[in-house]
């Protein structure tokens, strides 16, 4: 446990800005969009007060913000940015390009619903739409996790076996705007943890001119993409190793997933983000050791082994998705969990629950209903309704 910890009352945006201040990156590109705007507002205050050495680039759109990040990272600068929702969608083209160039950019995403209709509140449709972009996706349950994840993300992205950009996601408004008690590490510890940035193939290395972003035709494109998959595979181990190191520094344990009350659980909920907190609250209140929670922290790379391992004694599980994949069966997390179990000898019954779209509140009553549904499938042996909607009127 670190000796010098400062307890602060911060919301997710402020905590991330604080982490960024301690990291002191070379370049931060910014563009306002609710609900992440406070990150860049707070950071620009640090810039104006001379508390960081960062070159602050106020881009004229999120597409340009990510384009500038690509230029800055290729030029050998430690680069960070933040966005949400429509901004994420606007820069989507560039996300693919950033990962293909293997640039270690770290981006905070305050998850917000994608239009339309326009909605500024939380769901995971934004980052889910980028799940094929080649970025590592780490999700945070609360403000502490958001702060801790940003710091670890720097190490994960810059690891020589990975060198992929990382997005650290937190629930818009629920985490980004709600003040929580946060343990802030001392600046020296953070700087030692992230270390000095090592430049690789920098555009500013004039002696060794490099070409970034050539056209690769039918004879090479496939090989370049395969390389990217290899980096993503390495990320599994790197995320775990980084968590172990971070635990030594902070005393807080992380991994690819978090198993809560799973030792004797027969039924479990699988979920990403702040709703995991709601589930934990319900489980604690119930005092029932048969109810478990598996929280997914790393969605990309998808932790197949962790999931099948931690849920192997469960008879029924509910996968909660805060995003849609219209035309597919259930939500994106459900599809991937189901696929993870395909080759297993014993599989639990797996149900899909779409919840919380556009910031729809998810209550402990709804969680209670989910567990009841799971219990019922075990009792009756019947799956019942495969795809369900929590708190939706008219269903």
């Amino acid at each position: 446990m670190s000796k010098m910890t400062n307890i602060m009352a911060l919301n997710g945006n402020e905590a991330i800005a604080e982490a960024m201040k301690q990291i002191n990156p070379d370049v931060v590109a910014s563009y306002p969009i609710t609900p992440q705007t406070i990150i860049v507002e707070r950071f620009s205050e640090f810039v104006s007060d001379g508390l960081v050495d960062t070159e602050f680039l106020a881009a004229e759109s999120e597409h340009s913000a990510m384009s500038s990040c690509i230029g800055a990272a290729a030029a050998g600068g430690r680069t960070m940015t933040a966005t949400s929702s429509q901004g994420f969608a606007l820069m989507l083209e560039m996300l693919y390009i950033a990962s293909s160039m293997r640039l270690p950019i770290v981006m905070a995403v305050a998850n917000r619903a994608l239009s339309g209709p326009i909605n500024i509140h939380c769901d995971h449709s934004d980052s889910m739409s980028g799940r094929d972009s080649g970025w590592i996706q780490i999700y945070s349950e609360n403000v502490q996790e958001a702060y801790d994840n940003i710091i670890q993300a720097i190490r994960i992205s810059e690891n020589k076996d990975v060198r992929l950009p990382v997005m650290v996601c937190m629930d818009g408004f629920t985490t980004s705007h709600c003040v929580e008690r946060v343990e802030i590490l001392d600046e020296t510890s953070v700087k030692n943890f992230v270390g000095e940035y090592e430049m690789h193939n920098s555009l500013l290395d004039i002696e060794h001119p490099v070409t970034y972003g050539p056209i690769a035709l039918q004879d090479y494109y496939f090989e370049h993409k395969r390389q990217l998959l290899d980096a993503m595979d390495h990320a599994i181990t790197v995320i775990e190793n980084t968590s172990e190191e971070f635990e030594k520094l902070s005393g807080r344990k992380y991994g690819l997933v978090e198993a809560y009350n799973m030792d004797e659980a027969e039924i479990a909920i699988i979920v990403i983000g702040s709703t995991a907190g709601t589930v934990k609250s319900f489980i604690d209140g119930s005092g029932n050791n048969k109810l478990g929670l598996l929280k997914i922290r790393s969605f990309r790379p998808f932790p197949i082994k962790e999931i099948t391992n931690k849920l192997k004694n469960c008879r029924a599980v509910a996968v909660l998705d805060r995003a849609l994949s219209p035309g597919s069966l259930g939500g994106p997390l459900f599809t991937e969990v189901r696929s993870a179990f395909y080759d297993e000898q014993t599989k639990p019954i797996i149900l899909s629950y779409i919840y919380g779209l556009g910031g729809r509140d998810t209550t402990t009553n709804m969680i209670s209903q989910v567990y009841q549904d799971l219990e019922s499938t075990i009792k009756t042996g019947k799956t019942g309704k495969l795809v369900n909607y929590l708190g939706l009127r008219g269903e």
Binding site: I70, G71, A73, G77
Partner: protein, 305 residues
């Protein structure tokens, strides 16, 4: 002052082996520009002919650091490079003087790249933005852009029974750039290499953004003979279709005042304008000549102030 005999034979920063068309003016312009530089350079290149033909994996014709990320963001990408440079210089990790040059076509500048250009100019990054203006989206097969002049044939403004070539006028990109209080803005042409190279040297001395619009004849898109590319550039200047001027700290200066030749001489060598020389299109041709004349007169007024 650029002395050809002093620089001739010096190392090519854009080497041979690129696959730009025979007689394409873009590599001529790029070679002239790079030979005018004094400091090491980093290049940001928008998607387009130059980018594609010079970097077909695993080959690159560039012997200087070079980045292409996407089509509309060459200026934004370079903004990031320049910002990292500032940060690294400030923290003492880099000490060399480096210049930053952006290459983009008219599509990547006048149209899809306009926002990114505007942002970079407004933020005041120290970079030279060069638009290689061949007046259409050439790499995708000669489609009209907002830089395509009135009456020109392109595949998306073809010459038909109802509409004869592009109906709209060419956008005034220099006016747009000047609206950003850019300290050095100029128009140049590869035929007048000394003028172009001098302008590059002036532009690179600005501690902030600078912009040069360079006309770039395209044998494929303009349907001219490859050996006429420089001749065409010269005719464009001589007919006052493409005036050579600069605006330095708001002061307009004409770099060359030709004995104005008739526009037909410029049009005759390019099939994209062939229909304008037919008798039935004389009213349209006259209108285009009038637009060129008005633009020229307006320029003369600005330089005399």
């Amino acid at each position: 002052m650029v002395r050809l005999k002093e620089i001739a034979g010096s190392e090519e920063m854009l080497g041979c082996g690129h696959r730009l068309c025979t007689g394409c003016a873009e590599p001529i312009i790029v070679r002239q520009i790079l030979h005018a530089t004094e400091n090491p350079v980093v290049i940001s290149n928008a998607t387009g002919c130059l980018e594609v033909a010079t970097t077909i994996y695993p080959y690159s014709a560039w012997k200087v650091p070079w980045i292409h990320s996407a089509f509309e963001n060459a200026a934004a990408t370079m903004s990031g490079v320049e910002s990292a440079y500032k940060a690294l210089k400030r923290t003492g990790k880099i000490s060399k003087n480096i210049d930053f040059i952006v290459f983009a076509g008219d599509g990547g500048t006048y149209d899809i790249g306009l926002q990114s250009l505007s942002g970079a100019l407004e933020r005041g990054h120290r970079l030279l933005y060069v638009c290689l203006d061949n007046e259409a989206y050439m790499n995708t097969g000669i489609q009209r852009s907002s830089s395509t002049p009135k009456g020109a044939w392109t595949t998306t403004s073809p010459v038909g029974k109802k509409v004869v070539g592009k109906a709209e006028n060419k956008k005034d990109i220099i006016a747009i750039v000047l609206a950003h209080s850019v300290k050095y803005v100029a128009q140049a042409a590869p035929s007048h290499w000394m003028d172009l190279m001098t302008k590059v040297q002036k532009a690179l001395k600005v501690d902030g953004p600078s912009y040069i619009n360079v006309m770039s004849p395209c044998p494929r898109g303009w349907r001219n003979e490859p050996e006429d590319s420089i001749k065409l550039s010269r005719l464009a200047v001589e007919t006052c279709y493409w005036p050579l001027y600069e605006v330095e700290n708001g002061i307009w200066k004409l770099n060359y005042k030709p004995k104005k030749k008739p526009l037909e001489e410029y049009f005759r060598l390019q099939k994209r304008f062939a229909h304008l020389l037919l008798p039935e299109n004389k009213p349209l041709f006259d209108e285009i000549q009038r637009l060129v004349d008005e633009r020229w007169e307006s320029l003369l007024k600005k330089v005399s102030l």
